[in-house]
Symmetry: C2
């Protein structure tokens, strides 16, 4: 892929997410050649995708050109391409844009949606792991309402206005809250000739509480916030199928819905070619030691969502979130410099800075290591943290402006079907409608 | 399409562009039922599309939800759908979402790209009449550069970096200028391992001057501005073909280019079903009288780009631009109210407020009815006028913020390939590149 050899050892980073970018920054001008590959030419800020999906933010304001981040780095090459296979013996990666030799390889490919093998759900439901997927959800929600206006079939209209979210982790909870606020403040004004009160938001969770990675206090509060907003929460229910019309579950519950958003599982976005015992099949995460070194290889590392670093204290590995990825990227950058200087590497210790989720206007839950709180103040903390985590002054400013506007005006103006998700159907009609 | 009959006469407006929206506003709460149809759920601000195409603006900031504009109008129905055919005898329109009877029909469908029957050019070149098309151009420009990095074939690289714009009206000129500024300020920093000086921008014009609808003074200045920015301008040259690789012309000139953007012609976006003598075939504009009434019909009107209103003084009709559309929409709104009150309608008189085009940073040309100027002041006037023409406070604010940022930082951050335009090719490579 046309990268000239320099006198420095070549480190190839696959993936420009939170982990890959943190690592790249640490390797800036450090007597190494760095090649960063990503299938997109931008880094995206996944925690705010649900706002793109619900018309609150422009997609461009949560994406940032990778080339701009690394513009001034010496001996640094970005290539837009997708890695297909790794040959750990020959030290070569194979991508759709060609092949490349590496001295050190860092896999930071993140995660993708896990349907646990259910192909029917995979092909009929929506996911929200990328910006294009978020825009598809945005289009579909609005298309459903446009279509609901046109039909006289009560069942069809109900199905179009019935939203089923599977999985009550942060993504599911935040989406459910944002949909509930659309129902309250936006849709009744936009669709005066439709009874928007009939819109349903069903949040289905296989466990016994929402936000089960957070504190019980946060779960309880989030649960209450969601119910206050009119979200129906179904706990201890496992979705077993969805044919595009009917959601079946392991209980008697059945949902008639045109829109299922699946946030119930993630798995590592695993490249081909690693030795079979280097990863755990069910979740496709790569087993790494405390230096993020991949089991069975000396010069291959994995960081972030894709990396599974277990210890006696932490048998499940670190949560698949931005914080561990960024911390691992940062430390690995330092460790690679140490390694090249023949100094010993430092083991990774995860520093949990806490977690948070927003449910709606003035409603959020925050777990700090020693303190939990919720409500208006939590909501402001959530906004502040997310705003300052965005890359780039302009994105911060545009997001801030949108938030102030949306808050003051109880509005969201990005309810635009820029790219239709489904083709409009020919609607049946009777002559008395003319 | 499920619109209930009210006691008021029903006016159906097809198209939510500048004309349709101006008309809708005038008909607000005026004892008429209004049904507005558009194939998109948003109104878009076409004059700034070239900035979306060149990474200077978010698409969302130049689009505005139509439902939000008409939210509080009584007896007003918006339907997202595309009109396929009009039956002027039965007073029915047929759309992809069903059929509808009208008492009065206003065709405000605007214009689309005119390839003058050349199917080869149509299928291989890019157009820029819609937001999705603008995003396609944005993706293609960036994809070309990513691909140019990967190839060792000098001819292929040249073709990828050679941009041909056909037509030097406002769209062609503004795009050429924006591309030239990308070449100067953005691309050399983003692609340090590519010789961006080799990028070419060729602007081809069949007439003998650029911006030929403006004053000669404006043409001369724009020509000079473009040449200062490094754009090659080819006058009196007509493009005859483009097979995706080679642009042929009516002279000996040939261009080897992976990207041709066609802005050389527009035609009315004509619905089917009108009597054959109601429109001019070559340009598909509908012949209207001075009240915008379609020839041969009493209760069908046409406004904006699609309408051809000729007089002895003005044998070509009004220019296909926002101003005539808005003025006609406004007057027709008043005239329809007069018509229903059995009062005489007022004839349309176009008030030319002037025209303007921007070429780049500090470079614009402005023609006012009695005064022409160019340069920095013209550029500020251009920005001020466009900013205040945008619908909605939030869009104004976001565009302003982007402009200030882009100006101060010599930057454009929306260089994002959100939706790839072409599939990446497998690039050939040799082992010494490894």
């Amino acid at each position: 892929m046309n990268v000239p050899r320099s006198s420095f050892p070549r480190i190839v980073i696959v993936g420009g997410g939170f982990g890959g970018i943190s690592l790249a920054k640490k390797l800036r001008n450090k007597n190494v050649q760095v090649v960063l590959l990503d299938k997109h030419n931008y880094h995206n800020f996944q925690p705010l995708m649900y706002q793109v999906a619900t018309g609150g933010l422009e997609p461009d304001s949560i994406a940032y050109p990778i080339r701009k981040i690394v513009q001034e780095y010496k001996d640094f090459y970005f290539r837009m391409g997708e890695v297909r296979e790794i040959d750990g013996d020959k030290n070569i990666i194979y991508a759709d844009i060609g092949e490349l030799k590496y001295d050190y390889l860092v896999i930071a490919t993140g995660s993708k949606t896990n349907y646990f093998g259910n192909k029917e759900i995979e092909s009929n439901s929506m996911a929200m792991k990328t910006i294009p997927q978020s825009l598809n959800i945005r289009s579909l929600i609005l298309e459903n309402f446009e279509q609901a206006l046109l039909t006289n079939d009560i069942d069809e209209r109900h199905s179009l206005m019935n939203f089923v979210l599977v999985g009550a982790g942060p993504t599911g909870v935040e989406l459910a809250g944002a949909l509930a606020e659309m129902k309250k403040a936006i849709l009744p004004k936009d669709y005066p000739d439709l009874d928007v009160r009939k819109m349903e938001i069903n949040l289905i969770q296989s466990g016994d509480r929402v936000l089960n990675t957070m504190s019980e206090n946060a779960s309880e509060k989030a649960d209450k916030f969601l119910q206050d907003l009119g979200v129906s929460i179904w706990k201890n229910v496992r979705v077993t199928g969805y044919d595009g019309k009917i959601v079946t579950t392991d209980s008697d519950l059945i949902f008639d819905s045109a829109t299922v958003i699946w946030t119930a599982g993630v798995q590592g976005a695993l490249p081909h070619g690693l030795k079979a015992d280097s990863f755990v099949t069910r979740i496709n995460r790569i087993k790494v030691n405390q230096f993020n070194q991949v089991e069975g290889y000396d010069n291959i590392f994995a960081i972030g969502d894709i990396a599974l670093m277990v210890s006696d204290k932490n048998p499940q590995g670190h949560p698949m979130m931005a914080q561990p990825a960024m911390q691992q990227g940062k430390l690995l950058g330092e460790n690679l410099v140490r390694l090249l200087a023949k100094k010993p590497m430092k083991p990774f210790v995860y520093k949990d800075k806490g977690s948070m989720a927003t449910i709606g206007r003035n409603k959020a839950v925050v777990d700090l290591p020693n303190y939990q709180f919720s409500g208006v103040f939590a909501w402001f903390v959530w906004m502040f943290v997310h705003l300052f985590s965005l890359i780039g002054f302009k994105n911060k400013a545009v997001v801030f402006l949108n938030w102030v506007y949306n808050y003051v005006r109880f509005d969201r103006e990005a309810r635009l079907i820029m790219r239709p998700y489904k083709k409009r159907k020919q609607i049946s009609f009777t002559s008395d409608e003319l």
